[in-house]
């Protein structure tokens, strides 16, 4: 499918794509989906998510100990190695301790033209936190306007919100179609589409997604395939597409997820009435939560159980990045909640390099067989 190829090209070689964009727009990099990118888009700047590195980590070792996660070390590596020269700036929304320090180390060592810290609240369950969220976004808008020496109008914010709502609605629709008929599209392709949507210019991405959804809607009743065991996946980022291939080869299929490179990117529409900044702030306050934030004591567990039940998943796979503290702290209680619902789960700790395909295949097969 052409649309999927477009995302594949962008995911396989983001550098080339972004060098081409650079001629027409400023580009800002980020590493967390709490970035209020709607504001950046409204300013006519292209936000691009960074995913670490596929190469060796060497330069970053002089700044970050080995016990920081490969995402943070990889992003620093890419920056230090000069492979992110297409960026005009970096924005760091507050997420976890590692990203917090990455921001400082980045600012002290890599001289991009613009650096912004968007220190969002960690608490998301009080009125004062919601107010602070909005205040931070208001400040970010002002800072961005100052850098660009251009106002960001409410109209441009409304257009931005409309684009993002469309993009997110379409991504969610792809997930829904896949859940209804997993044979329709592979896990690798879905993950590629989501990742690509964080790299590609957003109007282009939304347009491309439209084409994909249209095609899938047509095909949705056509394909039929032997029933695979339905699974949900939970974690932070999953940048290894082979994981999905191996799950499918082992007789499973991912029907939904709680991932930063998945549903947390597209869950939550933004209201179009009222102050656009407040509406954007509400989305980030109310969106499915990441473990670096606090909503309630069992928000993530409740969400995962609900997803698993709603999408009729018979098992869950926790895909956790090594040295990712927030996710590792949540794992025991979330597993316990799944156990109570008789939903078996497995834990896979991933680093920059996956364990060998053979090893992974065995682990998945063993798990999926017993579902």
């Amino acid at each position: 499918m052409e649309g999927i190829h477009a995302f594949q090209r962008v995911v396989n070689d983001p550098g080339s794509y972004l060098q081409a964009v650079k001629g027409k727009q400023k580009i800002i990099g980020y590493c967390c989906t709490y970035l209020p990118e709607e504001i950046i888009f409204a300013a006519g700047v292209h936000p691009v998510r960074l995913f670490g590195t596929k190469g060796n980590i060497a330069k970053a070792d002089a700044h970050l100990q080995a016990y920081s996660c490969s995402l943070v070390r990889g992003i620093l590596e890419e920056g230090l190695a000069g492979r992110l020269s297409y960026l005009d700036g970096m924005v760091f929304p507050h997420s976890c301790d590692s990203i917090q320090r990455l921001s400082d180390i980045w600012r002290l060592n890599i001289g991009f033209t613009w650096h912004a810290d968007v220190v969002l609240p960690v608490k998301l369950d009080t009125a004062s936190a919601r107010e602070y969220m909005a205040a931070v976004l208001k400040k970010f808008r002002r800072d961005l306007e100052a850098w660009l020496d251009t106002p960001i109008t409410d109209e441009s914010l409304a257009t931005s919100i409309t684009t993002y709502n469309k993009l997110r609605r379409l991504l969610k629709r792809i997930y829904e179609l896949r859940s209804e008929n997993p044979a329709l599209i592979s896990g690798r392709d879905v993950a590629t589409i989501v990742k690509g949507s964080m790299i590609m210019r957003r109007e282009e991405a939304a347009h491309t997604l439209e084409g994909i959804v249209q095609a899938l809607e047509v095909q949705k009743n056509q394909s039929s395939a032997p029933q695979k065991k339905r699974l949900v996946v939970a974690g932070s980022i999953c940048d290894h597409m082979e994981v999905y291939d191996l799950i499918e080869q082992a007789g499973g299929v991912v029907v939904w997820d709680d991932l930063c490179t998945g549903s947390r990117f597209f869950e939550g529409q933004i209201a179009l009435d009222g102050d656009p900044i407040l509406s954007i702030a509400d989305r980030y306050t109310d969106r499915t939560i990441c473990p670096a934030k606090h909503a309630s004591l069992t928000a993530r567990g409740d969400n995962l159980v609900q997803i698993a039940k709603e999408r009729k998943a018979g098992g869950a796979i926790f895909l956790l990045l090594k040295f990712c503290d927030p996710h590792a702290f949540d794992y025991p209680y979330m597993k316990e909640m799944l156990d109570k619902e008789n939903i078996p789960s497995m834990l896979l700790e991933i680093e920059q390099e996956l364990p060998s395909a053979g090893q992974l295949a065995t682990r998945f097969e063993t798990f999926i067989e017993m579902l």
Binding site: Q65, D97, V122, K139, Y331
Partner: protein, 416 residues
């Protein structure tokens, strides 16, 4: 044992810090009171080390510090075992060892005092790290008690107006929370008293640490690690003020008599990061054998680092800045400024940095701080890769070699 062997070495006796005995008594009484709180109709709150404890004293709630418990677990060399238990509970080995040992201790009453008394409520301030948020969520689910989160936004380069307003609101929310869980009104007059005592205690602690400007330093960072407990746990009480007055007097006396923590102090070093709790004696003796004294450290000085922000006439309002702009809640370049001041103030020859795998906010950025100190002040640093509580992460022979090599460098530099 023969009569000769039983006779105490007068030199060693002279060098011992006398206040240690008093300190142990106070901490024992404190934990006993905490463990029998229910019998005395008092409430117990668990609070983070950087958390605003003063309002708890105003409400007559006994504050308990799981991190202090973690330090005790480390010092008693019970860390590896409890951390392993936590791993069996599903908590990854790479997580903070304070959190792991506390989480494992709760269901089994582990650690050197048979476990902490169960909390009536939890107060979590994330100015020190994001780990405490997750740790306290775990305990809130386990103990089924109310949790108050004091969210102090990170100050990379500045403390924004937005953040200030947010923290101000939370001070009010905190008071309201305390009134609710304690079932009584907050006494603002008492707050004045407690605020004054807190500031006085911190001033005395600063004065105690400042005695190490003397040559030889009458105490070392290893002593400071021990005497720190009261300014953390009993900050805001008369007990803490009285104790530090006594300790200060002892240190001034030792300085006057030129009694140093290290006999023949030749080299003065600064310690960065949390202690290696299960190796403080070994490290102290190791550096002593090189005639080096750890005269100051960035960890214990954090508990008097807010004096510029605190106002005894408006303590609650000044808590906003005082609790947000702490050493770990500011950018790496801001931290370097503070370290440079300490290097000059204590006339330090080198830095010993504990790259503590349990504490990312403290450890990530150390490599850059090390580089900046070398480039800008010509001060060399030694990096010790270890963990504060989990003994499994300490390679004694490797570290010994590195200390020896570092001290060679220091000696050469100083022209010994």
């Amino acid at each position: 044992m023969t009569e000769e062997e039983k006779k105490l070495d007068p030199e060693k006796e002279k060098r011992k810090v006398k206040s240690v005995k008093k300190m142990r008594e106070i901490m024992t009484a404190y934990y006993l009171e905490a463990k029998s709180a229910r019998e005395h109709n008092k409430k117990v709150a668990w609070i983070t080390s950087g958390g605003p404890v003063e309002p708890l004293h105003v409400m007559d709630v006994i504050p308990v510090y799981p991190e202090n418990h973690g330090a005790m677990i480390g010092a008693s060399k019970m860390g590896a075992d409890l951390c392993e238990k936590a791993e069996n509970m599903g908590y990854c080995r790479d997580l903070c060892s304070y959190a792991r040992s506390d989480i494992a201790s709760a269901p089994v009453g582990g650690g050197p005092i048979g476990g902490l008394p169960a909390p009536d409520f939890l107060v979590c301030c994330n100015n020190i790290c994001g780990t405490v948020l997750k740790w306290y969520e775990v305990q809130a689910r386990y103990y089924q008690v109310p949790l108050f989160i004091f969210d102090t936004p990170f100050c990379h380069a500045e403390f924004t107006e937005e953040a200030r307003r947010y923290v101000e609101k939370q001070v009010n929310e905190y008071i309201a929370f305390l009134e609710e869980v304690c079932g009584k009104k907050f006494d603002y007059d008492r707050m004045m008293e407690v605020g004054k005592l807190s500031i006085e205690g911190q001033r005395l602690w600063q004065a105690v640490l400042d005695t190490t400007m003397n040559k030889p330093a009458p105490m070392s960072a290893f002593d400071a690690f021990f005497h720190l407990a009261l300014i953390v746990t009993l900050r805001g009480t008369q007990t803490a003020v009285d104790y530090y007055r006594e300790l200060l007097a002892e240190m001034k006396e030792r300085a006057a008599q030129k009694i140093g923590a290290v006999p023949n102090e030749k080299y003065r070093l600064l310690w960065d990061n949390l202690p290696v709790w299960y190796k403080t004696k070994w490290l102290s003796e190791k550096f002593s054998s090189h005639e080096a004294c750890l005269v100051a450290d960035t960890y214990t000085s954090a508990w008097c680092g807010q004096l510029d922000y605190l106002d005894e006439n408006d303590f609650l309002r000044s808590m906003v800045e005082g609790y947000t702009k702490i050493y770990l809640n500011i950018g790496v370049d801001q931290m370097v400024k503070i370290v440079k001041k300490m290097v000059r103030k204590y006339d330090v020859d080198g830095i010993v940095m504990h790259s503590n795998r349990s504490c990312k906010p403290y450890s990530l950025g150390q490599y850059d701080i090390q580089r900046m100190l070398q480039d800008e002040l010509g001060i060399p640093s030694l990096m010790i890769e270890a963990d504060m509580v989990d003994e499994r992460s300490f390679s004694e022979s490797q570290i010994e070699t590195r200390i020896d090599a570092f001290m060679e460098l220091i000696k050469q530099k100083k022209g010994a």
